[in-house]
Amino acid sequence: MSMGERIVSLDGVDKSFGAVHALAGVDLACDSGECLGLVGHNGAGKSTLMHVLAGTLRPDRGRILVSGDDLTRSYDVAVAQSRGIRCVFQELSLCPNLTVAENARVFHASLRGLGWRRRAGKLILDKLDEIFPGHSIAPGDVVGDLGIARRQMVEIARAFSVTDTPVKLVILDEPTSSLDAVLAGQLLDFVKRFVAAGGAVILISHLLGEILDTASRVIVMRDGKVVAGRPAAEFTRDSLVAAMGSVAKGADESSARTAKGREGAPVARARPAGQRNGAELVAHRGEVVGLAGLGGQGQTEMLRALFAAARRRSREASVREPVALVAGDRQTDGIFPLWSIEKNITIASLRRMVRGLLVDPRQEAVMAETWREKINIRTPDVGNNILSLSGGNQQKALFARALGSVAGIVLMDDPMRGVDIGTKQEVYGMIRAEAEAGRTFIWYTTEMDELKNCDHVYVFRNGRIVADLARDELTEEKVLHTSFTEEAA
């Protein structure tokens, strides 16, 4: 493998999911002998870009060139693999019921015939030894019995293992997220050796130190675009953070809220299970409380704990009013796809609408119609199926479900993902009005603009609260810095 040879390049790649423009004209090139660091805030389009490169997503527009050949039409997983492009996704793609060696076999069609098990075991074991010396994983271990870190190690070693086609480029999406410091160091050292030997790696990580230390070039993504791309040496941690942040001008003043004093007994309080210091989440009546930080740092678990506390006693959380939840993953946790908009809205309020033993359809219709007008759900008839609505309007229906219920506390699990900006503004307005009227909101969001609607923000990292910011202390820089600070800080 010669150095500096172009392995893959993307040319003006576009990808949309409904109203969301995940990738907007991305150009990207990766040469042999380089480690490309890729950073960006949640929803910047990193994962979508990697799926395009791995062949699991087809772009709407743009060209894909591999080793100089235009493969836009035929590009898929099989082509990517035959061209030596491998990907380690965040969601694991091992079979939990198979052993480590057998999982290597799934990946390499040429591991067959007599002695395949020994060869597969040796292949994966050698790679594990090379990347993670002293790993103590045996080829005969069943993957489902391994802890999350070891599974991640097997997945990584498998991606770098070679049988009949050489490995040219390996994409690592948050590879160190479940590894401890020693293992992460071993992996990054291996990446450097692999690159020095002429391989190429695209490394995605939210640990900026890792990126600055390992990558030769760094690309910053924001809102589906590449906004910066320079040699790693030209970046510092601060300049990376600055490049990632999106400063929406003008919006600040209009959405700003004045901080309220916090007094009296809180309506909800909770402590993450792994919290070591005394920090806890507290919400008072009529407050909008934000949960910030990177995705998957324990915010959703916190909301679940609060939700569960409304039903049974819990050590983690306590609430003093009924609770409703607006789910983040609308499709699996939110809507009932076979039902009308009306039934989707009324499901949490049926108890109020019972006459005799039966639910009164007139009251249902009244409630649905009221909310349709109140939050402007764009449909000619609330009797239509929920799927006839656009994503944003489906989300409004879910808000109507929560706000129309008797719940005094509304939990929101990053519900505005994939919702267009107009709808968002309408919902923000509604939340403010409801909070004025005495409802309490606990809102997990990864978007800075949304945090500006909050009275109080808790920043989460690694399942713990690491910062507690009142309205007037809240700046984007503070949130980003506390989100990204590594353990040492």
Binding site: L325, T332, I335, F336, P337, L338, I347, L350, R351, V359
Partner: protein
Amino acid sequence: MIRDVLRKPWLWSFVAAFLVWLATMAFTGFKGGGELISAALTFATFFVIVGIGQMFVFTLGPGNVDLSIPATMTLAGSVAMKLMDTQDSMIVIGLLVALVIGVGVGIFNYILILGLRIPPIIATLSSSFVILSAAIAYGRGLRIKPPPLLAEFTTVQVAGIPVLAIAVVILAALMGVVLHRTIYGRSVTAIGQSIRAAGFAGVPVERIRFLTYVLSAVLAALCGYLFSGFSGGSSLSMGEQYLLASIAVVVIGGTSVAGGNGNLPGLWGAALFLFLVQSMLNTYQLSAGLRYLATGLIIIAVITAAGGQKTLR
């Protein structure tokens, strides 16, 4: 309006039943068509009773099925018959005991499903072993006749229409109201569409699942009680054909196997269809082997045609 009716999935089971009836009549030269219909109504009644319970269970979503229906029928039927000992005065007590047995079986099933985390298929299967044994040990295989009044009630007809069928039409209509208009029914369909979304919307998921398995067992017990009355006593094999029948009427009747979409009118169409297919094959004087073969193939064909639609997700 007409287009709306045509879009109803349950319509097809009635169309199929009617076609099978026509095919049978073509063979006999339209002799005995009325009798055939009233016989079909009678036998379909029992399919529908267990079908209602199975339908609620199916509506809870994939993986939910009650395989203990035949055993529950047998146990409830034989205990009630022995207890009543052909005395008319015991009819109500017999019925109550049968229903209590149903409640017990439902609770037992649910303890296995929730308490021991056994998948519903194997839980209801293992419990059916135990239930069947109880029936065998209690009844000793003796056929005890039902009280004459019960036998009469299950067979009496008004203008060629079995009274029991009328009662079960009313029962099905009531259960339709339960499914669509009560909080319980709404909760069942919510869970069937998405158990997670239901939980987040505040539906008490475990309580609803519990009630549904109890409902299924109670209806199976009721069916065992009535069928024993109808067929001149309980027998150990009386539940046999109800395993396939309870599942087939639900699926052919247009209830979604993926859950969340129950369908009550379809149960009647499918139950009539099932019985009429049997009697058509009898009328054609096919041998027993061909009858079984044709029944199996027809069921698979109907399910392939009806069950192949992808869910909306």
